[in-house]
């Protein structure tokens, strides 16, 4: 009986003590600790944009520098889900890039295409806001008109 009785009061004491401890911590946060929320997107602070929030290596939308692209199609092959479509056509002597489309609605931002690019033509931008009304807008056509491919020869000699 005494054991039971002792446990009865011990339970009450434990309950009060642990509850008080927990409430002390929440009180500390209530009174003292400041909020860490970032008020995205409209109150980021002066002159800050959404793209400043992310780090240097952030993997956002893909970006193409057509002047560097040598049309080697490695990124297209590396892509696990085939969201890049490149067409290279020969017009006369020159090779032209006629299409460079990236389907950002399918892209899973794995970075394999950026990794294999020998010239650094395809890179990640910091843009991450992809909300739009029509999913077709996410299929980004990087080239408006055919662009002649960069010559890889200079690079090859360096190597």
């Amino acid at each position: 009986m005494t054991n039971e009785g002792v446990r009865y009061f011990k339970n009450i004491r434990e309950a009060i003590l642990t509850t008080a401890k927990g409430m002390k911590i929440t009180l500390k946060y209530w009174v003292k600790e400041p909020a860490i929320t970032i008020e995205y997107p409209d109150r980021l602070g002066k002159g800050r944009t959404a793209e400043d929030l992310v780090s240097e290596r952030y993997r956002g939308f893909l970006k193409l520098d057509p002047s560097k692209c040598i049309g080697c199609l490695q990124c297209m092959r590396a892509c696990p889900i085939d969201c890049i479509l490149i067409k290279v056509e020969k017009i006369g002597e020159e090779r032209y890039l006629t299409r460079f489309d990236v389907d950002q609605s399918k892209c899973m931002y794995c970075g394999l295409c950026v990794e294999v690019c020998p010239t650094g033509a395809i890179t990640f931008s910091k843009r991450f806001e992809g909300a739009c009304y029509d999913i077709g807008e996410l299929c980004i056509k990087h080239l408006q008109e055919p662009v002649s491919v960069a010559r890889p020869k200079a690079k090859k000699k360096e190597e």
């Binding site: 309950a15 290596r57 952030y58 590396a78 696990p80 931002y109 794995c110």
Partner: protein, 374 residues
């Protein structure tokens, strides 16, 4: 005595229930609040990752391993990379090894933070969950600086890692693990783990004896919660875990019976501390500079063969059984995940508990639905 006619109730819990992490479904057979049986119904997140593996090249499969268990993507990456490397006999640079371990253990911390927090959220305590997420935010920032993604890291590559450490990564990581180890866990314990209400909810609920746990192929923290001292990182070390000194926390019936929900919870809390220790050692030992990646041939093809490699993910052993026919993509890749077997044991553990206990049991197993379904 009058005989009351009672009727059993069939309750459908999920797939859109607040406490079925992800998209799980249980068919509950209850007698009022008391539960007779809970039959799990899985497959809502089945994406056929094993089939995808047979279609894409070895390197290109890496992003898909992120999606096996999205809360611990670096650990899954590591497991797959180790499997392929062991089969193909690829040596990887020392620094890459350390970076991998740091990423994997940071992920383990991040994953456990969510696991612990979500369990508390299921039991009605919202504040500890938000506090855990606050800490996870730091982890997300660290990983973002390291590899550029916050959730699906895709950091590890076959033959190394994708990026070298960014500037001031070591200091930031040290600060983070110091904060977790010295301040956050203690506060979290005081706020939640040692609360009488929480203890009463968790002890003597969902008890799994060591024999039962082995019989049902439980792995990871759920097995260790039952008192079986088994950790792949210790028993079958991969990467550089054999160079690092850490303990394997096991459940010992801290407040109640051995193998109850509280033990599984407590093992996770302790594992966060151990991960902090591992990261600290890895940061100390990591070379200042060096190669981070072994170049593979463009069309990488491992030799013909079969291999089964086990790695330790936050939810337990993640095994990759890889069959290669010498082609560019795996012939067959079986991914054995921890949540799969934990999910299978639920119908046995949940006999005769209350509906509220089922929520605690699911939470204590730390089940992530995509890992069950793959």
């Amino acid at each position: 005595m009058a005989h009351f006619l009672t009727e059993e109730m069939i309750l459908n819990m999920g797939p859109h229930h607040p406490s079925t992490h992800g998209v799980l479904r249980f068919i509950l057979q209850t007698d009022g609040e008391m539960m007779r049986r809970a039959v799990p119904d899985i497959g809502f997140l089945h994406r056929g990752i094993e089939k995808i593996a047979e279609l894409v090249p070895y390197q290109s499969f890496m992003p898909f391993t992120d999606r096996i268990d999205y809360l611990a993507s670096a650990c899954c990456n590591l497991g797959y990379a180790v499997t392929v490397e062991r089969l193909a006999g690829i040596e990887i640079p020392e620094k890459a090894d350390y970076l991998r371990i740091i990423a994997a253990e940071l992920t383990r911390i991040g994953s456990h933070l969510i696991g612990l927090g979500a369990l508390l959220l299921d039991l009605g305590a919202v504040t500890p969950f938000v506090h855990a997420l606050r800490e996870r935010e730091t982890f997300n920032d660290l990983m973002e600086a390291l590899c550029g993604a916050r959730l699906t890291h895709n950091y590890v590559r076959i033959g190394g890692v994708s990026h070298d450490e960014p500037p001031s990564f070591r200091e930031k990581t040290r600060k983070f693990i110091d904060h977790i180890e010295n301040e956050f866990i203690d506060e979290f314990n005081e706020l939640a783990s040692f609360n009488t209400i929480f203890i009463n909810r968790m002890v003597n609920v969902g008890v799994i004896s060591p024999e039962q746990a082995i019989e049902h192929c439980l792995v990871g923290p759920n097995l260790r919660g039952s008192g079986v001292k088994y950790d792949v990182r210790k028993n079958d070390p991969y990467s550089i875990y054999d160079r690092l000194d850490f303990d394997v926390p096991v459940g010992h019936g801290k407040f109640g019976t051995l193998g109850d929900c509280y033990d599984r919870y407590w093992v996770r809390v302790e594992e966060v501390r151990e991960s902090c220790r591992i990261i600290r050692q890895a940061l100390d030992q990591m070379p200042e500079s060096g190669a981070i990646r072994t170049k593979l041939t463009r069309a990488f093809k491992p030799p013909k063969g079969e291999i089964y490699v086990r790695t330790e993910c936050p939810r337990g052993e993640m095994g990759f059984y890889l069959i290669s026919d010498g082609g560019a993509s795996p012939y067959r890749l079986k991914i054995r995940t921890g949540s799969f077997t934990s999910m299978a044991i639920i119908s046995e553990v949940s006999q005769g508990v209350m509906v509220a206990d089922l929520v605690a049991i699911i939470g204590s197993f730390d089940i992530v639905a995509p890992e069950v379904d793959r």
